[in-house]
């Protein structure tokens, strides 16, 4: 049986419990939701660990496995934000994303052909940092959209179902800001490790054309740097220009949309040497 079904099922349950919590706002239900999600991520980590042992490196080089790892990191990142702000109302928005994405490895369990080049601890660190960064940016984008939603509700004096259940603008802004900071730190670290590792790997495999061709001009590398610049600006704008609140929310939503579009373009239409399948 496809091992990804187990975390998928737990995420589905967590999503339902988060929805019940959102509607009924009973603290016990909220705590139950968090516990279920925590169990889900543990199960998921276990599944990924098994796959890692199978191919001897982080299982991310085929699409399905990469998505599975991404979902696990998304859930972890969300749990971190939830536990540090004690705000559980966002689960109902984040969990469906996790469930939707986790359906990919469930429906198309890919096969991973072991690639000796990736059998390095650096690869694991590089991929995990970058994926965690993107997962966190995805959450920041959702938080940004919700901020805008709550902002509009208050602005239009429409103080109904959503207004009552969504957190305060301040909390949404704080969560968003924290997500961007954490994401940026991981992105920076992941990129630095990538550069370091690429230099090392190039020396080890002088006949690998892909590795030798890797440069800043490569679309995937270029996009990564563009993303880094974008989120660096976002941090600068928040800290120095005082762009929090609505502008910060916009920035994280638009930023992630740009990242997503670029990634789709890179992986579908452009030639990149940054591929190891």
């Amino acid at each position: 049986m496809n091992a990804n079904v187990l975390p998928f099922a737990v995420y589905v349950v967590a999503a339902v419990v988060y929805a019940v919590y959102f509607a009924r706002r009973e603290p016990a239900v909220g705590r139950a939701a968090t516990t279920i999600l925590l169990l889900g991520t543990l199960a998921h980590t276990f599944v990924i660990g098994m796959q890692t042992m199978e191919v001897r490196y982080a299982p991310v080089s085929n699409f399905s496995w990469a998505v599975s790892s991404f979902v696990c990191l998304l859930a972890l990142s969300y749990l971190y934000l939830e536990l540090t702000t004690d705000e559980r109302a966002m689960g109902v928005f984040i969990l469906p994303i996790a469930v939707g994405l986790q359906a990919v490895p469930v429906l198309h369990p890919g096969d991973e052909a072991a690639n000796p080049l990736l059998d390095s601890p650096w690869f694991w660190v590089h991929m995990a940092s970058l994926m965690f960064a993107y997962a966190t940016f995805a959450i920041a984008a959702v938080l940004g959209l919700i901020y805008m939603l709550q902002f509009t509700e208050i602005k239009k004096k429409h103080l109904g179902y959503l207004y009552t259940r969504l957190p305060s603008l301040h909390v949404l802004d704080a969560m968003n800001s924290r997500a961007v900071v954490v994401g940026w730190a991981c992105l920076t670290f992941g990129l630095a490790v990538g550069v370091f590792w690429a230099v090392e790997a190039r020396a080890l495999a002088p006949d690998n054309a892909n590795l030798q061709a890797m440069s800043l001009g490569d679309p995937k590398v270029f996009i990564a740097l563009l993303t880094w610049t974008l989120y660096s600006f976002s941090l600068f704008a928040r800290r120095v220009l005082g762009w929090h609140g609505r502008r910060g929310a916009w920035l994280s939503a638009v930023g992630f949309a740009i990242v997503l579009l670029n990634f789709l373009a890179v992986s579908n239409f452009l030639q990149t040497s940054h591929t190891f399948q």
Partner: protein
């Protein structure tokens, strides 16, 4: 032991009488202590808020308690009893318990579901408990009422949503700024609503409150009350630049905050500016609401919120009443099970006496047994008695109502001759028809 309640509330007495019979402004502990010197009110709690003065007692003689409490009220407040007795209500036992549960749940409040009442009930209980004026019955009753209050709050929307303009304003501020500590409020004009709002803001821990008014004296009075700082009237523009929350309530005929003024201060800020205009005519130009970073709410907007919340609360009343009834039933069941205790104890003692007497009678025939075997015999007989008693004990503690309970208790008392000093009933002996012991007299 019976519960008895005597009180008056916004439903039965006019405000001037409630004021004269108020305990809250005086020392509640001293009052309950003075009351407890009367024999029928030795176990008592005095609950006093601006909308009610109620005295709860656990007494074996409710009729006497009524007289003594009335006399106490009259003496303590130096009022002739005739001035308040027509406005007083009383409840016994089940009705008294239900009343307290409804009060703690906020169902009996002037504004249904208002949040303070549960705290006031707790205070009333602690004032009495601290002076040792509460016994096991009232302690259990009041703790049960706290549970009812909490359940209603957690499981229904009865206490949800602000139902006054000033609360609605503060609730909105919290939805915008989260916790209010560190936030700066500016009060423009010291009217009734702005004063109430300032007080709520202070209670919510707002960082600073700046107050400005055309009449400096008004500003100073309010500033003293809410620990705020007075800002001169011509410093309004500057104070606006520093504020997160602005409350305007002047009697001005023309707007005192224009779009240009607000735009100038919001351009530089990341956080939104929340303006509450409770003045009529309005103090803030309506177009200020169009500024991206400004939330503008006027008195009609807040009134609309209050209306909506009130109607939502009234739809929750039924669910809250259901919780009260459920807890009342549980409480009464607990009380019945407690009332069964003396009979159960007497029954056990009786059985155990018989067991020991029989063992003693057999003593001479059991001399050949080793000490271990004797201990075993003792153990086995004890277990038999225990097992025989399990079912009757459970049944006695779990009877559906008080009448059945009295009947069962009496039957057991007779069947096992549990009353002490009772001669063995012979046919036609009238002693066995003695009045049954009150099951509550514990």
């Amino acid at each position: 032991m019976h519960f008895f309640l005597l009180g008056l509330s916004h439903k039965t007495a006019p405000v001037d009488l409630r004021e004269r019979l108020d305990f809250a402004s005086r020392d509640l502990g001293a009052a309950v202590e003075a009351l407890a010197t009367r024999p029928s009110a030795a176990e008592s709690v005095v609950l006093s808020t601006c909308n009610r003065s109620e005295i709860y007692v656990a007494s074996s003689d409710p009729e006497r308690a009524r007289e003594e409490i009335t006399a106490f009220l009259s003496e303590y407040h130096a009022l002739p009893a005739s001035s308040f007795t027509p406005h007083v209500f009383t409840h016994d036992d089940e009705a008294a318990v239900r009343h307290l549960f409804r009060v703690a749940a906020g169902l009996d409040s002037l504004v249904v579901g208002e949040p303070q009442i549960l705290g006031q009930v707790k205070e009333a209980y602690h004032a009495a408990a601290d002076r040792r004026c509460t016994g096991p019955m009232l302690t259990k009753l009041f703790h049960w009422s706290f549970v009812v209050g909490k359940r209603v709050r957690a499981e229904t929307g009865l206490g949800e949503g602000a139902v006054s303009i000033s609360f609605a304003a503060v609730a909105l501020a919290r939805k915008i700024f989260g916790r209010l500590d560190g936030r700066r409020a500016l009060i423009v004009g010291a009217g009734e609503i702005s004063t109430l709002t300032a007080q709520h803001l202070r209670r919510q821990g707002v960082g600073t409150i700046a107050i400005t008014s055309r009449t400096a004296a008004h500003a100073e009075t309010l500033a003293a009350e809410v620990d705020g700082a007075v800002v001169p009237w011509d410093g309004l523009g500057e104070a606006l630049g520093r504020a997160d929350i602005v409350v305007t309530a002047t009697g001005s005929q023309r707007p005192i905050l224009t779009r240009a003024q607000v735009e100038a201060v919001t351009r530089r800020r990341g956080d939104p500016l929340f303006i509450i205009d409770v003045a009529v005519p309005r103090d803030v130009e309506a177009s200020v609401g169009e500024i991206e970073q400004a939330f503008l709410y006027n008195v009609d907007d807040l009134q609309a919120i209050v209306h909506e919340n009130l109607s939502r609360r009234s739809s929750e009343v039924e669910r809250a009443e259901a919780i009260v009834s459920e807890e009342l039933a549980r409480f009464l069941a607990w009380r019945r099970s407690r009332a069964a205790v003396p009979t159960v104890v007497a029954l056990r003692q009786r059985f155990d006496r018989i067991r020991r007497a029989e063992l003693q009678r057999l003593e001479a025939k059991l001399t050949h047994l080793t000490p271990e075997d004797r201990a075993r015999v003792d153990e086995v007989t004890r277990l038999i008695v225990e097992k025989l008693l399990i079912e009757p004990t459970e049944q006695l503690k779990d009877l559906p109502d008080e009448e059945t309970q009295i009947a069962y208790t009496e039957a057991i008392n007779r069947v096992f001759r549990l009353r002490e000093g009772e001669p063995s009933p012979m046919p036609g002996d009238s002693a066995a028809e003695a009045t049954p012991a009150d099951p509550h007299d514990t």
